[in-house]
């Protein structure tokens, strides 16, 4: 155990002992360090003005990802490399290629969002030098700009990619040295205090089990994409807080199942979804913005219990199970049974989600839909996961789960019944579309009215059928540029 938080901030090592559970990285940067290039626009991880790169050592080596400093807790940066806009520099100490391209293409107007946009584009430039417009727009899902209309920013990103220079980049050149420094910081539990507040960063999953056994009422913080708002928006006390975002990263694919560590982020899961559930990739890339996908974890999206979490409808449709652990005792629960009621899950105090087990669909037809006011980085009005088995023209099994339609993510039992055993034909989906009205009594709020939610839920059965029956006809909107 160590009472010291250690991380790298740009080119300096930071060592802190007085750190509160609720201290954010952004306040540390702006108030303590006067690094004012990183801006606060919303303090809820939605505008991206506070984007910084977070470097961390993974099995694949040191990776740098854009994250939102506003909802990132300082304590969770232990053993990481925080890179702010002040650290960017070109090979000659001048502008970095991203910055130069932004200037040349008139990519800034008021300039307030610009440092955050530069950092997101830097993260993309580093990892995908050949990014096209679609990838650039994906990288900017978590960055709002109110002035430019984005056109010159996208052009700047394309130009910076063409300009190259990744191998000479400072972060690439210093990769080995930084990795070594970060590794040296890790391996021990960290316990921090500030006044009455306590923050604990367990060394590994076993240590987490021990920490939770001692502190069953502690706030468990993974990616902080929700808990961050408890603090920044609602000023809630989260102490003692246990930070687990760096834990349970393991991934195994065996016996037709993906066994995902609960700490795997949405971003880390992207290659698995792309390979094993390609029909859901588009859906997966609409979870949050890039920064949120780099922070939020699949396990916490489940454990959080929100009725509008984006992964449960898809994962329930796929028949996912979760492994819950308390101390050394583990139990497996079907995901659909985990959600009991609004704000109530099948999780005991001190228990945590350790794994998510996702059966890889074999010969099943899978689809995932998300309806929101804005396509990207919006909270779901209605989400749906479909997984159907069809044999000899008959639907043998239908698993259809919805989010946003009830107090919990939930299967559409009557609609499923209307499909099961029926011909794989338009009439069956019409029947399901009618039946789903009896499955749910959705609420009206600012995201959508009950009437709209019900209408859309029904129409998603029709869309699913159209996609299957008329693959040559355009039945879905095309968003990608150049398609």
């Amino acid at each position: 155990m160590t009472p010291e938080l250690r991380f790298l901030l740009n080119d300096r090592e930071i060592r802190l002992t007085e750190v509160g559970a609720a201290d954010t990285l952004l306040d540390f940067l702006r108030i303590d360090r006067r690094l004012t290039g990183t801006k606060e626009g919303c303090a809820e991880g939605d505008c991206g003005a506070c984007t910084v790169l977070l470097g961390r050592v993974t099995d694949a080596g040191l990776v740098y990802e854009p994250i939102n400093a506003c909802i990132r807790f300082l304590a969770s940066c232990h053993g990481c490399h925080v890179v702010t806009v002040e650290h960017l520099r070109g090979p000659d100490g001048g502008l970095h290629p991203i910055q130069a391209a932004m200037v040349e293409h008139h990519g800034s107007q008021c300039g307030f969002c610009t440092p955050g946009i530069v950092m997101s584009l830097y993260g993309l430039w580093m990892t995908n030098p050949d990014a096209g417009v679609t990838q650039i727009e994906e990288a900017l899902q978590g960055n709002l700009c109110r002035c430019t209309g984005y056109e010159p920013i996208v052009k700047a990103a394309l130009a910076a990619g063409r300009a190259g220079g990744q191998a000479q980049d400072a972060l690439a050149a210093e990769r080995d040295a930084v990795s070594a420094r970060l590794r040296a910081m890790q391996g021990q539990r960290v316990e921090l205090r500030k006044g009455d507040e306590r923050a604990i960063i367990p060394a590994d999953a076993d240590d987490l089990a021990a920490v939770l056994a001692d502190n069953p009422k502690a706030t468990i913080v993974a990616g902080a994409t929700d808990v961050g708002l408890w603090v920044t928006k609602f000023m809630r006390d989260i102490s003692p807080a246990v930070f687990i975002g760096h834990l349970m990263k393991g991934v195994e694919v065996r016996e037709g199942e993906i066994r995902l560590g609960a700490g795997v982020t949405y971003s880390e899961a992207v290659p698995l979804i792309a390979e094993h559930v390609p029909a859901a990739l588009d859906y997966w890339l609409r979870i949050g913005g890039w920064q949120v996908r780099n922070m939020g974890t699949v396990g916490a999206n489940i454990a959080n219990g929100s009725p509008i979490g984006d992964t449960p409808p898809l994962l329930i449709a796929l028949g996912a199970r979760i492994v819950l652990r308390k101390g050394d005792v583990r139990r497996e629960v079907a995901l659909q049974d985990f959600f009991i009621d609004y704000g109530k899950q099948d999780r005991a105090p001190g228990e945590f989600v350790e794994h998510v087990i996702i059966p890889i669909p074999q010969n099943a037809i899978v689809a995932a839909y998300k309806i929101s006011k804005r396509r990207d980085s919006d909270i779901t009005a209605v989400a749906a996961g479909f997984c159907l088995n069809v044999e000899d023209g008959t639907i043998t099994e239908a698993r259809v789960a919805f989010g946003g339609m009830a107090a919990t993510p939930k299967r559409a039992a009557r609609a499923e019944a209307a499909l099961t055993g029926q011909p794989f034909a338009a009439e069956s989906f019409e029947a399901a579309a009618r039946a789903v009205a009896d499955d749910f009594t959705p609420l009206s709020d600012w995201r959508a009215s009950a009437e709209y939610r019900s209408a859309v839920a029904a129409n998603l059965f029709r869309r699913f059928w159209l996609e299957q029956s008329e693959p040559d006809l355009p039945v879905r909107l095309k968003y990608a540029v150049g398609e």
């Binding site: 502008l95 300039g111 309806i371 959508a448 859309v456 129409n459 909107l477």
Partner: protein, 768 residues
Amino acid sequence: MKDETIIRGVAHSDTIHDSAIKHVTGRAEYTDDLAEPSGLIHAYLGLSQCAHGRITGMDFTDTLAQPGVLGVLTAEDLPGVNDVSPTGKHDEPVFAEGEVHFWGQPVFAVIAETRDQARRGAHKAKISYDALPHALDPIAAREAGHGYVTEPLTLRRGDAASAMDKAPHRIKRRFEIGGQDHFYLEGQIAMAVPGEDEDVLINVSTQHPTEVQHMVAHVLGVASHSVVVNVRRMGGGFGGKETQMNLFACVAAVAAKRWNRAVKIRPDRDDDMTATGKRHDFVVDYEVGFDNDGRILAVSGDWYARCGFSSDLSGPVTDRALFHADNAYFYPDVELRSHPMRTNTVSNTAFRGFGGPQGVIVAERIVEEIGYALGRDPLEIRKLNLYQNGQLTPYHQEVEDQILPRIFEELEESSEYNARRQDVLDWNAKGGTIRKGIALTPVKFGISFTATWYNQAGSLIHIYSDGSIALNHGGTEMGQGLNTKVAQVVAEAFQCDIGRIKITRTTTEKVPNTSATAASSGTDLNGMAALDAAEQIKARLIDFVAERWQAPRDEVKFVPGHIRAGDHEIPFDEVIKAAYMARIHLSAAGFYKTPKIHWDRATGRGRPFYYYAYGAAVAEVSVDTLTGEYVIDRADVLHDVGRSLNPAIDRGQVEGAFVQGTGWLTCEELWWDDKGRLRTHAPSTYKIPLASDKPRVFNVKLADWAENAERTIKRSKAVGEPPFMLGISVFEAINMAVASVAGYREPARLDAPATPERVLMAVNRLKG
């Protein structure tokens, strides 16, 4: 400085924004980034939690017990008047007194050592209310007998009622148009530093430093000369910092004087969006009479606006809605009435277009109605009704500079409008679930403040003895590139490199009595004022050079980096040094007032606008008729900025305005619950466009042949607001895609914004 004969940054060049390098490196300082004076403390507002009610008690016991809290300010703690009404109506208190009029109204402020402590303190206060009935929208307000927040306006020409009676066709409908939050990325913020005597210095994110100066003086009860207001730049304004920052500046100033320490105030985004005004929502009842050819004969309409609890700028905003209710079309007989309704919501305010968009969109709806009624492309109806020079607007201004026919012609050709419209019709005829729409819509936008006295500006130029130039003017930089464009004007005047010119922060100490940087007028006014100052210094230099280098006065010319006097070519630095030694005055204050304009509100007649800016856009969309989702497949824009001072910056304004305009009409929705709480008050719930929402193909061109017919700065035209309204093309294209499900028998008549929900509901209604 070395001699340069190639000079950068003169007029009409693609000069980069003067802060671009600072923007991308994070070194551009916004108000929250300024070095903080030692001992700085923080203020945080406490907001009402009742849409309308009498305050029955205020208990600050828990607030004052909070660590770090120094005290609380309420209405009775203000040394001067409790009012920040920008129009002098005395209807907008800093802190509510006795009664609250909307959910989120500032009631008090907590002062503490840290922002976090002040904020926590504010949330610990217990304010109790006796609730009173509330009306949230303009129709409910009308039914509740709420009355107006400011005087309504009627524009009338001819006899609309009898022309309507005689018209072969008449259509009468209602159109509901939503508001819009500015969503400037940098929220409201002010930092006040107390000085000796009654002095206070305010750093604030504002479009209107002079008004902040006046408001702070009133609230402190001191003279304006005691208050200095500085703004280097804003992280976006869009109208949201024309009046809305007054309150924050006043609270900071009062606290600074009371505690004799520097005070910063910065609300959280939720409080910012809850407590500050937005674009006005409108309910419009319109009626049009037209003939068999589609020619408009008569228009009448009533514009009911959700103004909120106080007048703020609702008078001029609702006026401008009427001024633009014709958009680009001649209405032979017309009567337009505004109804600025008092509602129990935040007081709505300026927002890019300033009511104009809510007028223009109704004109476009009227055209759509006629097109659908007659089974014709609305574009034909547009062309038929476009103003011809010499025709009068509903406010009796003669249109003299019409260029839309040429813009239409070029845009139709470059966008291949006709072929693509046929493709859209063919596509929809196949009857699939994805439907398409296409629309070409124009804008004609009047440039000038309708408050005629606002159309003035000042500037101050110093040339120091080393030849460096300090430039100051009354406009503020909010990202629009104003400082760059004004510096280009000065670089052009002196024929010097723009690097020689330092654009300093806007401050009431240098240029007094300035107008808001608003109404798209920043460059028109301040560019001219800067040119006036430059010309004064130039005249003195020419006299001096003519004498010193023995050349006739008319042979002294400013050439790149030099001044030529007959056969001599003397470097600029050298001339300046010599002029200083010869005791030539190297500083000048410039001034400009817009000529020709006048406006008599009582009679509804005049020439409120110096000129018009024009533009048009073609948008094509695809709509999913199963979910109501849509995508903007392509947009082509051709816009008139006269002879552009900076084509790169102007194109940026056009692109940004277009996307902001589409946001207003698509994904941006303000939603109040029945208690009067705004529930879309942060980017998690209020969705402005993202990169992936902009048109998939986006062709934006400036009409490079255009030139302002009036003698504006270098014959350029204002650009900030006009292209905002080109987003209406997207809205109409969505309407067309929806109308296709019923064979275009009637227009879709979507209310705005056309969220996926509204689109799907309209599809289902039309399908029957």
